[in-house]
Symmetry: C3
Subunit: 117 residues, 3 copies
């Protein structure tokens, strides 16, 4: 089974494809943005990486949403709910964790399939 690595930088790859599976590095927004904007930026990065891998959001299997403040749950979901494929939503876990800097408010980790048929 061959493995394809997208945007490897010596430390990590932004995406890794093996067989039917795609694993993405946790995507974040810009630390000076509001949580809704950071969520939109992270989800746009997810879209872009899935496109590069040959997949799209209709094939996401699982999402982990990390919030630096769980009280941002509603603000994050407002953006998520408008973005997600409502017919084909992934399983998801959402919890609170301090992220790479104090100003990063959300990080989104995705496992997707290569293609839904």
């Amino acid at each position: 089974m061959s493995i394809t690595r997208i945007q490897p930088n010596g430390r990590l790859s932004q995406a890794v494809v093996m067989g039917d599976l795609v694993f993405l590095t946790g995507q974040v927004g810009n630390p000076n943005e509001l949580v809704g904007e950071q969520t939109a930026t992270a989800l746009a990065a997810v879209d872009d990486l899935l496109r590069q891998a040959g997949s799209d959001k209709s094939s996401i299997l699982n999402a982990t949403v990390l919030l630096s403040d769980i009280d941002d749950f509603s603000a994050m979901n407002q953006v998520w709910d408008n973005w997600v494929d409502r017919i084909n939503p992934p399983s998801r876990a959402t919890y609170q964790a301090p992220l790479i800097t104090r100003d990063h408010k959300v990080e989104i980790i995705i496992v997707a399939a290569m293609k839904a048929q």
Copy 2:
């Protein structure tokens, strides 16, 4: 490879099946329960979702156990150890994270195989 989504609600699916893999949404108990009771409730929900997917706990590959207070490690494990298939236990990571509300004490995230043979 087709993807089957169980209990999709427009935001997430409680379970997603692709090929041999099943991904479950993080399962929780009732916020007014003790941590042991919340663990039992979450694990019963795992059993139910795996049954709906066509699998069972003997085929769990990986578990992530989130505790809102890591000092509940022993109380959670007492319930886990009585529930898990001791011949076929999954790999597991357990750590502390604030969950969806302050009264949710445990969340359990599962990746399973469709069937062990």
Copy 3:
């Protein structure tokens, strides 16, 4: 699809193999070590488990790095960067979470492929 469990102990297995996938239990160092030493110890345990599963670090798909103090990000990465297969790095998420004891500073969770070709 058969499932192989490595070092099962009644609660969890240190590694679980199904098909092309290997899931490892979160690996930690010794609580009395510095974060860099704990990272090295955890990564050595990853190497050992992957070897037992019939894989190696060139086939890691995804890593989750948990730090009890996100300010240890650079110290962890110094060890990670010297260890990781720089041609074949995994996708990765790194965030802060209190671990099993206050003295555990890093935990590393791995999903790998059985073999890259």
